[in-house]
Amino acid sequence: MSFVEPFLSPVILFFLLGAFAALARSDLAIPEPIAKAMSLYLMAAIGLKGGVSVAAHGLEAGLIWAALAALALSFLIPIPVFGLLRGFGRLDSTNAGAVAAHYGSVSVVTYVTATEMLRIAGTPPAGYMVAALALMETPAIVTGLLLARRASGATARVDERSGLWHEVLLNGAVVLLVGSFVIGMIAGPDRFAPVAPVFEGGFRGILCLFLLDMGLIAVRRLREARALTVRLATLALLIPVANGMLGVAVGSAIGLDIGSAAALGVLAASASYIAVPAAMRLALPAADPGLYLAMSLGITFPFNVVIGIPLIATVARMLGT
């Protein structure tokens, strides 16, 4: 994938258009229920397609390794990230724990964009990588909370905890992703065909419109950020690079194909802005949402879409040959 190619693709160009409109303070806005619906659609579509692909190719050995690697990455990534945020970033432990949880978890849209770009480059990831995506959503929340609480000595009340774990494990995004994956596996390619016009044919066009909205949201989020320092902004650029390299390296090491290794890298590099912020509002209310959303959504997300994904794909190709 050449470094110019992404900037010729409607998917990325719509993202840039959204970012431009927000920078120019245009009043362009996608209605909130539509944005929500598009994100649900993308999850259902990617889940279904992953499941159908697994049904077509059978359960490959790679799945097990990818799943284990995904779990380990999500659990462990928050630890060094927490250290960086406390040290170089000068954050208190509550905010550092909250931000670290975001970076250990994943962004579905970043993943979807990456699969699209990897497909264009001729190296699509395996269908089972959707399972890795789903597995990486939540472990980081555990680690992030432990880090925040160990450091601050706080202990959560029991009722709070139970509500939290329910929220985290049965989070709508996770349920829809995993559910659609299972439906795809059960239905298989033949029964998928009648719904393919919506979930396959519509996929790239909807992704364009959704990324238009994400461009708007990311820039608006960044502009309203108050607590963001130069050090933290720098980390929001460096952390995804480091995590992305780690993810690709692990992917190659466990023998994934180029596309799947790149996808694992993108998952590691991406930061959540759906499940984790909601969990943090519940469990770490003293952490500043303005800060963690500015970092994950305002900086890391656009960085990954525009630079991170092609970079990680390039490294995956180098390691894969």
């Binding site: 909130e32 944005a35 929500k36 994100s39 509500g163 929220e167 949201i217 608006r220 989020r221 309203e224 950020a225 108050r226 802005y273 759906i274 499940a275 912020p277 909601a278 969990a279 943090m280 509002r281 519940l282 209310p285 003293a286 500043d288 949402p289 303005g290 959303l293």
Partner: protein, 104 residues
């Protein structure tokens, strides 16, 4: 004119992820009627927000109940931890209602 009686109106601006808990607490202190209203955005000590979050992490909902002064006080007391930890906005005002028995 139709008779009216005095009650209080309690409004709480609740972060969406906390809504279930606030509803539960309200039922626990004996409040048997409330209405939920949507909000679009705002400004506070923690900066501006818009309901543009796909997660609803920053969406806020206005919990509104018409109740007796006693129940309102019980609600405020029971909620006070949550009000502090999550910085929720709680406003009380006096209203008149017809058919007061509905709003104990």
């Amino acid at each position: 004119m139709t008779d009216t009686v005095e009650r209080v109106r309690v409004e709480i601006l609740v972060d969406q992820p906390l809504l279930r808990r606030v509803e539960q607490i309200a039922r626990d202190v004996g409040i048997n009627g409330y209405t939920l209203l949507p909000s679009l955005g705002g400004l506070g000590a923690s900066g501006p927000w818009r309901d543009d979050q796909l997660s609803g992490a920053q969406a806020k909902i206005l919990f509104l109940t018409i109740t007796s002064r006693t129940r309102a006080e019980r609600l405020t007391d029971t909620l006070s931890d949550l009000l502090d930890s999550h910085g929720l906005l709680l406003v009380i005002s006096r209203v008149e209602v017809v058919r007061g028995a509905k709003f104990e």
